[in-house]
């Protein structure tokens, strides 16, 4: 085997990587603190947050309120924006120094960018894009539940001899823990030695829209090719139902709506209570993103659309008159 940097006999503690943007913790970091709190309690171990960034003391307090016992803050002006080199360097140094047993990261683009690089630097195993986490009975090893083959096959993965056992977890899998502002925890500032030359990457431009997190929506009204570029009725319907608008890849490719709302294999995997799917034929690449919805409603004019196979309620008709009547009826009922 590829020799580990350290093994189980010297490892202890559960760490969560706290991804933040401009000092605000990512939703998945909070979700991991919630699940991490439970996993740490089962093991009788401490939950530590790893927080690189600049001016992130408030985020450290938020992490404690959400379940962290201890937060390691690595604060430096050069950490204002994420970069692979700086983050890998800081995480690897702290991990080799303190030897946690387990490290959990959110499977966001930057979380995955870091995890893949860090796992090789630490010569350890990484279970990617988990949809579940548990301790294996008897061995106490971390079991990461993963999906493969477009979501059709599931497997559990473990890492027996290398530490830390690393896993990235999909956003939206675990619930947000309710914050407790009175929770006690410690914040430790660690020293950061970074020179501008050590940073290989320069960020030239950064565009981020805030607000929509479709993985957290309870109701999703999704549109595809069939909406013909007009998301107006879907937006109104989403508002009436207290939900968010989602879209198929085609609708995003055509520029009808932002990528932050794209559902499916190349977009977000969502878990709404209700998904209303309008004018989307329902190829596997899309349905993998809503298959865990409690209820699926499909509106499509094509009687052969595969989405009808995957729906609880089916409306085979022209989208726009159906939506018009539906919206009018819902508006009538709301004061």
């Amino acid at each position: 085997m590829i020799p580990p940097a350290y093994g189980p006999e010297v490892a202890s503690g559960l760490w969560v990587y706290l991804e933040q943007e401009a000092g605000r913790l990512e939703g998945v970091a909070l979700e991991l603190l919630g699940r991490g709190r439970e996993l740490a309690a089962q093991k009788g171990t401490a939950l530590t947050g790893l927080l690189p960034g600049h001016q992130v003391q408030d985020a450290a307090r938020v992490a404690i309120a959400h379940g962290a016992d201890h937060v390691l803050v690595a604060d430096h002006p050069l950490l204002a924006a994420y970069s692979t080199e700086a983050w890998t360097e800081i995480a690897a140094r702290l991990i080799l120094e303190r030897k946690p047993e387990t490290l959990l990261l959110g499977a966001t683009p930057n979380g995955r960018d870091l995890a893949g690089r860090l796992a090789v630097r630490l010569r350890t195993g990484l279970t990617a894009d988990c949809t579940g986490l548990a301790w294996e009975e008897g061995t106490g090893l971390l079991l990461g539940e993963v999906t493969g083959f477009g979501g059709g096959v599931m497997a559990s993965i473990k890492c027996a001899h290398h530490r830390p056992q690393m896993a990235t977890v999909r956003p939206g899998i675990f619930p947000l823990p309710p914050p407790d502002p009175r929770r006690a925890g410690t914040i430790e500032e660690v020293s950061v030695a970074l020179s501008p030359e050590a940073l290989k990457a320069e960020v030239l431009r950064r565009v981020r829209q805030e607000g929509v997190d479709i993985t957290r929506a309870r109701v999703i009204v999704a549109g595809g090719r069939g909406v013909k570029g007009d998301f107006t009725p879907l937006t109104e319907l989403a508002r009436l139902l207290g939900g968010e608008v989602g879209a198929s890849r085609v609708a995003c490719d055509l520029g009808w709506i932002g990528r932050d709302r794209q559902i499916g294999q190349t977009g977000f995997v969502t878990r709404p209570w209700l998904a209303l799917v309008c004018g989307i034929s329902g190829a596997t690449q899309f349905t993998v993103g809503i298959k865990d919805a409690e209820q699926i409603v499909a509106i499509n004019s094509d009687p052969d659309a595969p989405i009808f196979e995957d729906a609880d309620l089916c409306v085979m008709d022209d989208l726009f008159p159906v939506l018009e009547a539906l919206i009018a009826e819902l508006q009538r009922g709301t004061p």
Partner: protein, 263 residues
């Protein structure tokens, strides 16, 4: 700007919809699944060929897999790649991301003289999306993950637009670099059938050719192992059709949604 020598890492994968779990043995049944080049790898090949048109240089293909992967590499040669290498050995089988990225990095070192490595963002079978970053670490190269476009700047730095959560960023990194390419960022070109016949044969290397410790390869070299495998639960849906005019269907649907959501 000097020519750019690129290696594109590709994987031959079973078509996802044709793979199932054998209910008796609880193992993957890939026997009936047809294979294909992993879709985002096609976008990586296209990106490499487009960069070669602009900057000159070469495009090599590299894959790790069983011997039957060779004809799929010939597809890439017929698209315009200059050479293709297949790492094929029983010792490579069962590799996780650590052992896979190590083996591919050793293959890249053996090809030599590279400036840029392109990979698809993730494979449709394992879907870890972690191998490109691993290759970058083994090789000590810069990395740009989830890239949607790439260009080489006049000062020789690689500029890439990449996806971040809720948006995108443009970063510049020094070469050599490893880049993972998002699915669907370009339209892969068709094969040139003339090239298919005239293209160089695929070079096959085994573990012995790479000069590596066999204990670092395949299942034996992998820190992670699969505990259990099962078929994803597919929820049985009611498939109840609402009838009537569009207006009646709309009103019926409103009633149902009100009841479901307790509005």
């Amino acid at each position: 700007m000097r020519p750019l020598d690129t290696v594109v890492c590709v994987k031959v994968v079973p078509k996802p919809e044709e793979v199932s779990v054998d209910p008796e043995t609880r193992t993957l049944d890939r026997a009936r699944a047809r294979s294909e080049l992993n879709p985002p790898d096609m976008n990586a090949i296209e990106m490499a060929l487009a960069l070669r048109e602009r900057h000159g240089g070469t495009v090599s293909l590299l894959s790790m897999g069983p011997p039957f992967a060779a004809p799929y590499l010939q597809v890439g040669l017929a698209m315009g790649a200059d050479s293709a290498y297949l790492l094929s050995d029983r010792a490579f089988a069962g590799a996780d991301t650590l052992a896979t990225s190590y083996t591919l990095a050793k293959g890249i070192e053996k090809i030599g003289g590279w400036d840029l490595i392109l990979c698809g963002e993730e494979s449709s079978d394992g879907a870890t999306g972690q191998v490109p970053q691993g290759i970058a670490e083994w090789l000590g190269a810069s990395q740009i993950t989830f890239a949607t476009s790439l260009a080489v700047r006049a000062d020789g730095r690689l500029v890439g637009e990449r996806e971040i959560r809720g948006g995108h960023e443009v970063i510049a990194v020094p070469l050599p670099a490893v880049v993972s390419v998002k699915l669907g960022v370009n339209e892969p070109r068709f094969m040139d059938m003339e090239r298919r016949h005239s293209a160089a044969p695929v070079t096959v290397w085994g573990a012995g050719d790479l000069g590596v410790d066999p204990a670092w390869l395949g299942f034996e070299g992998s820190p992670t192992a699969v505990g259990a495998v099962w078929q994803a639960r597919t929820r049985e849906r009611r498939r109840e059709f609402l009838e009537g005019t569009p207006q009646e269907k709309g009103r019926l649907l409103a009633e149902r949604l009100r009841a479901l959501l307790a509005l």
